[in-house]
Symmetry: C2
Subunit: 210 residues, 2 copies
């Protein structure tokens, strides 16, 4: 999170008595939402982990984004332009808040504080999203699988402030996130271990360089 505003601080205060928000719970594997044109949904992941997944015509699966607690998603942040399917899948038990953007940005007639504070901070939250997207682009423009892995590890390491961390994604999902073949990625991971660049115990990564 780059902005000063943090949803978490008042997630516990969440008592929305306005009818603009809908709160739902999903179990692992369920589809939280499918992106459709002209709806402009804005969702907040209050609890759990989820993936925005795209299936293209060649059958390739791409993890477009990985969401953890307090992440924002929905059509507001991804205008549907192509005819590929875009699904948000729950990776664990999830609690999600649903808004419609056009309603959210108007002041709440019920004086709902959560609603109003969220609307007020929307511009910064959207700018944070832009930063995330640019980071993702930087990751995807890495030319080799090795460079993609190293940059990905470096990003997580910086975020966690530690050279040791658990992968937030399974290796299968990581391959789909980096847009590379899984077995090729596994091979590269082995080479990175042989070159003493990283160590790996289960899903725990240890960066050895620098």
């Amino acid at each position: 999170m780059n902005s000063n505003f943090n949803i978490e601080n008042f997630y516990y205060n969440f008592s929305c008595n306005c009818n603009k928000a809908q709160k739902k719970t999903f179990s692992k594997g369920q589809i939280i939402t499918t992106y459709i044109q002209k709806r402009n949904q804005l969702c907040i992941l209050l609890k759990g982990n989820a993936d925005l997944v795209r299936y293209d015509l060649n059958g390739n699966r791409t993890i477009v984004e990985h969401f953890s607690k307090n992440a924002l998603f929905g059509e507001v942040f991804y205008k549907v332009t192509t005819n590929n399917e875009l699904l948000v899948e729950a990776k664990s038990k999830c609690t999600v808040l649903f808004y419609i953007y056009d309603q959210l940005k108007e002041p709440c007639t019920h004086g709902c504080e959560f609603h109003n504070t969220l609307a007020e901070h929307l511009p910064e939250l959207i700018l944070d999203k832009i930063t995330e997207l640019n980071t993702r682009i930087e990751l995807l423009t890495q030319r080799t699988t090795r460079d993609k892995l190293l940059m990905y590890f470096s990003l997580i390491s910086t975020r966690k402030l530690s050279k040791t961390f658990e992968l937030p994604l399974s290796l299968t999902d990581l391959a789909d996130y980096l847009s590379v073949d899984r077995s090729a990625m596994m091979r590269e991971l082995k080479l990175l271990k042989e070159d003493k660049m990283v160590d790996k115990i289960g899903n725990r990564i240890i960066l050895l360089y620098e």
Copy 2:
């Protein structure tokens, strides 16, 4: 452009008497700006074409974004997180308007209409940027050079409403934009011609499928 607001409509009215904006002209090849942390510049390309270019530690050059008339850019849309150099290079004679985001978002004390209208429409403009970035991500997640080319052509074709169009980038730049090797891209382009998928006369592309 997805939003209803279009800068072009009042670009001609531009007569900013507030001291918040700076207007400058650049000739081809000049550096318009270098992205630096914590400045939050917002720039509008009033005239010309420019590229946001990144040079990484391996010497790879990536065209992160290509800007044409009325495009918005600057640190507002790209928080500098890594230590790669980010430059905006003029590809032709350019006229650029510079703002600092924090000043822009406040109402103009000089009653400058351009300033105020721009500030008012900023949220939509930023959401448009998000759409662009997502499109770019979709492009970069294409697994093969062929698929990248076909998707890129398809995007331009949709934008121009025509199966025939001039490439907005040179082929050398296109390779850096798609994050592939230029010679490999040329080879694939030749194969696409042989397969009667596209035709190509100079920098003019003709889509033959469907």
